[in-house]
């Protein structure tokens, strides 16, 4: 079987938090959940989104770390900060373009998603992707994802002028080859859509 990769499709997320609960069952950080699950704007929508570490090829978190505490394994997985080194400065927390690292005040250490290294390093699925009921988080082969999804996986991003390549892929429509995050959407929904696309009262009104 060929190498399995991690794929995210935020739009599939149903906010059930199975990933959050399962993340705390991973042995490298059991009892502490590392994954983020964002409720985008509950007043306006039921949209939610999970965020695992994207495992950048040249991780910004490691570059801004004063203690040289963030290391990547040979197979490309960016690990939690090394416990003896991390000086708890939070540079990584506020610099990561994906908002991934967590500063654990209790332990005075940065911890983050390590793709369940105890599992993925021996060929098992990371906990979150193993349980995710919606397939928003999927750990499978490139062939399988291409066979089963309409979209395509990409792993190139830009944040302003910063180009980032990640180990983890995101599912996008076929004509997209890179996700450009240079427009900060202050409003909770994309500008292409009506102002309040999920307001039930408007749905009942507009068309009557």
């Amino acid at each position: 079987m060929s190498q399995r990769e991690f794929f995210i499709d935020y739009s599939r997320c149903i906010g059930c938090q199975a990933c959050v609960q399962a993340c705390a069952e991973c042995d490298t950080h059991r009892g502490t959940s590392m994954i983020h699950l964002e409720t985008i704007e509950r007043l306006d929508s039921v949209q939610t989104a999970p965020q695992v570490c994207m495992h950048c090829e040249n991780p910004v978190c490691a570059r801004v770390c004063p203690a040289d505490a963030i290391k990547k394994t040979p197979d490309g997985v960016v690990q939690s900060s090394l416990k003896p080194r991390c000086i708890a400065c939070s540079n990584c927390v506020v610099s990561c373009p994906f908002g991934v690292p967590k500063y654990m005040a209790e332990f005075e250490q940065m911890m983050k998603c390590d793709m369940c290294y105890d599992r993925s390093s021996v060929g098992k699925k990371p906990m979150c992707a193993a349980v995710c009921p919606s397939g928003a988080l999927t750990f499978t082969t490139m062939e399988e994802i291409q066979r089963t999804r309409r979209g395509i996986p990409v792993n190139s991003w830009t944040f302003g002028e910063e180009e980032v390549k990640t180990k983890v892929y995101v599912m996008v429509p076929r004509e997209v080859d890179r996700v450009n995050v240079d427009l900060i959407q202050i409003a909770p929904t994309p500008s292409a859509l009506p102002a309040d696309p999920y307001d039930v009262a408007l749905m009942l009104e507009v068309q009557q």
Binding site: S11, R12, C13, I14, G15, C16, Q17, A18, V20, Q21, A22, A24, E25, D27, R30, G31, R42, L43, D44, S45, V46, Q47, T48, K125, M127, A130, V131, C132, P133, S134, G135, T148, R149, R150, D196, Y198, D199, V200, A201, L202, M203, L204, Q207, Q208
Partner: protein, 740 residues
């Protein structure tokens, strides 16, 4: 007397709910000490495969079971954390007896059982056999469900046995039986991704059947259109192609309106209707008046939505219809389901690949639990208790005279009403927490406190158990073995992972011992649940839900088997109605015309708002299990009243503020959750919490005339802003019914 024997805060202090947050043995673990037990989740009708990690007779964690075909390792948060109910501090490990004014005290098994038997005898001798009732549950294994039915009819000889599936699947079951002739989802879930149009009515799939999500998204990847009917925009609805925010109770108008347009535009399969169905003309006649405008008025949505949904559904090449409690929990629940099924049959898209119909089962063994004869009107094999042939067959299997089997008894709600008015004096209950789960909670709790004798079998002291005279410590799913039947009709095997702790016993042993003490030892002398299954299989032979050809070994080898499976070599039946062959004796589907009627209680000037109730993803039913698991409580700690900002503004309520929700029957105080994703005329409160946080304090004791399902989905309330309550219940932990 079964009145509360101590104050609620004292009972909570001794018996919980208490939050359990750290697994047995701590967070670090050494896999070398563990074994993996392949079994299934206990927390909904999908019955996902899961592997439990067991160390030294303790469940210490889980591992996804990726090769189980239904869920392929996927789990919802309840599945992930279900292992935390083991080694729980609240676990009952000794029989308890009620001591007036002092709560409960431990008691040895022998005197506990003697007391139960003598009370049963006393009540039945004094008031008649039927004065002792049985309330049982749809989360029990098939073997236990079968045993409960047999226990009631043979050992107690009471007509009054019913189960909490009465709050769940009975409307869907009755409708399916009426039209198709069989009460089961028609297709395996693997047909869902093959359908081009999927209509989901009244099912918050993301929270109540999360594993089904991937099947839906997979269908979308394959090009399917998704239609959702729900008063709330649920997470699935957000990505639907058409979301119809229907007014609670208005679904039937949409179904009839759709059929009206389908007939008008020729989107019905006339050939299929002619060959494989009967009664279509009457239906066509009924839907004639359901023009889009007429239907729209009832459904409370714009008429063009009804046109659009018909345009999507009508000409579809393949389609799948799913529904759940949203359309079933009504005093017209059966008719709602019939209207939905009419759409399926009229399209002729049933019984083939990618074409089908399913009801989304809620409770753990919601499907199997209603087949084995623990319903008031049923005998094993989905047999009819009033049918002489059926009675005779089962009497033969049980080795009892046919006339000794009681006739049809009371269903859950009338049964509790009979307790309230003194016709029923004694009760044994298992796997049922009516104090939280039945409508009109104040009435129900009052009824429980009127019982002369109440024995409760449970693993935790539930809110209902507090009213018991004797509590017998039973078993969790992982402490016993047996089969359940999942949402698809797939019979699967639950393995025993650990043995019951302390002096707790497997439920089936408790029942067999009780039956023995009541003088029926020879008919309840099973050595194991497997022996019960062997009898169940024979009892089901020739019935609708025929398990005769199954064995535990075959179930295990095949990752589950679909009934009917009439012969030992039979492969089982994943897809029903292939070739247009339906379950009625004439082989046809029987159309039934249904007419919309108002709900039992419509909003009025005094109580102007519709209250609808339902579930959240991190809790299961009455919460007696999930409110004890720390991580699940963290996820959703207390009920909130969802309301639209327009309504909130009218009421002067802000997000997070305290509101009093009042109906003619009772009230609750909860925090408001102000969201635009709900209809402005409707509020939603989840029902998993007890006492002053129990949504069922407000709901109405109205039932469907056919299925007897309560009308949980609509009652009239008024809402007002209030202050944070500070009474003795309010200051309890949120898991016990407090508020923060």
């Amino acid at each position: 007397m079964a009145k509360l024997s101590d104050t609620i805060p004292n009972l909570v202090q001794h018996f919980g709910p208490t939050l359990h947050s750290i697994p047995s043995g701590g967070w670090t673990r050494n896999p070398q000490d563990e074994k993996l037990v392949k079994t299934h989740c206990c927390f909904c009708g999908q019955q996902c495969g899961i592997q439990l990690r067991v160390n030294n007779n303790k469940v210490v964690g889980f591992e996804p079971w990726e090769t189980f075909p239904f869920n392929k390792g996927k789990l919802c948060p309840k599945g992930v954390k279900r292992y935390m109910q083991d080694e729980h501090p609240d676990r009952l490990k000794m029989p308890l007896q009620r001591i007036e004014g002092r709560g409960f005290e431990p008691l040895a098994w022998e005197p506990a059982m003697q007391r139960v038997v003598s009370e049963i005898r006393r009540i039945q001798e004094r008031y008649g056999k039927d004065a002792f009732a049985v309330l049982t549950g749809a989360s029990l294994t098939n073997e236990k469900a079968y045993l409960m039915g047999k226990f009631a009819r043979v050992a107690l000889q009471t007509a009054n046995i019913d189960y909490n599936g009465r709050l769940c699947m009975v409307s869907a079951g009755a409708a399916s039986k009426k039209i198709f002739g069989i009460d089961r989802s028609a297709n395996p879930w693997s047909d869902i991704p093959k359908a081009k149009v999927i209509l989901i009515a009244g099912a918050n799939v993301a929270e109540t059947a999360p594993i089904t999500t991937d099947y839906l998204w997979q269908a979308r990847e394959n090009g399917a259109k998704l239609i959702i009917l729900d008063p709330r925009m649920t997470p699935i609805a957000r990505n639907a192609d058409l979301f119809i925010p229907v007014r609670p109770g208005g679904d039937m108008a949409i179904f009839n309106g759709m059929l009206h347009i389908m007939i008008e535009r020729g989107w019905i399969d006339r050939e299929f209707i002619a060959q494989h169905t009967s009664g279509f003309d009457a239906v066509a006649e009924t839907v004639r008046k359901y023009t889009p405008d007429f239907a729209a008025k009832i459904a409370g949505v714009p008429a063009d939505m009804i046109v659009k949904v018909a345009e999507l559904w009508g000409p579809a090449p393949t389609s799948f219809l799913l529904h759940a409690r949203g359309i079933e929990h009504h005093s017209k629940g059966v008719d709602n389901c019939i209207a939905a099924i009419n759409l399926v049959v009229a399209s002729g898209r049933i019984g083939r690949e990618g074409c089908g119909y399913a009801m989304i089962t809620g409770q753990g063994n919601g499907q199997g639990g209603r087949e084995q004869g623990q319903k008031c009107d049923q005998l094993p094999g989905s047999r009819d208790i009033s049918n002489p042939e059926h009675r005779k067959y089962i009497a033969g299997v049980w080795g009892v005279p046919e006339e000794s089997i009681p006739q049809k008894g009371l269903s859950a709600v009338p049964l509790v009403e009979a307790i309230h008015d003194g016709r029923i004096k004694g009760l044994i209950s298992i796997c049922f927490n009516p104090a939280v789960s039945l409508p009109d909670g104040n009435f129900v709790r009052e009824a429980l406190s009127k019982l002369e004798f109440y024995v409760n079998i449970d693993f935790f002291l539930s809110e209902s158990g507090r009213y018991a005279d004797i509590v017998l410590p039973g078993s969790l799913m992982e402490e016993d073995e047996g089969t359940t039947t999942n949402v698809e009709g797939r019979v699967i095997l639950h393995r025993k992972a650990v043995s019951p702790p302390g002096e707790a016993r497997e439920d089936w042993k408790i029942l067999c011992d009780l039956a023995g003490l009541l003088g029926h030892k020879e008919r309840f002398s099973y050595a194991s649940p497997k022996e019960i299954f062997e009898e169940l299989r024979v009892a089901s032979k020739g019935g609708t839900s025929d398990y005769y050809g199954m064995s535990w070994e075959r179930i295990d080898e095949n990752n589950g088997m679909f009934w009917p499976c009439p012969e030992p070599g039979h492969p089982g039946t994943p897809r029903l109605y292939e070739g247009g062959k339906f379950g009625h004796p004439d082989g046809k589907a029987h159309f039934m015309p249904v007419e919309w009627r108002p709900s039992a209680e419509m909003p009025d000037a005094e109580y102007p708002i519709i209250l609808t109730t339902g579930r959240v993803v991190s809790h299961f039913l009455s919460g007696t299990q999930t409110r004890r698991i720390g991580a699940l409580m963290d996820q959703y700690p207390q009920p909130r009243c969802e309301m639209h900002p327009r309504l909130a503004e009218q009421l002067g309520v802000s997000d997070g503020g305290f509101v009093k929700v009042e109906s003619r029957r009772g009230q609750i105080v909860v925090r408001a959750l102000v969201v635009k994703t709900i209809r402005p005329d409707t509020v939603f409160v989840p029902y998993h919490w007890p006492l002053d946080r129990s949504a069922n304090n407000c709901t109405i004791r109205a039932i469907d005339p056919v299925s007897n399902i309560p009308e949980f989905k609509i009652c009239a309330v008024r809402i007002s802003k209030t202050d944070q309550p500070t009474d003795e219940i309010a200051i309890l932990g949120v898991e016990a019914g407090g508020i923060r």
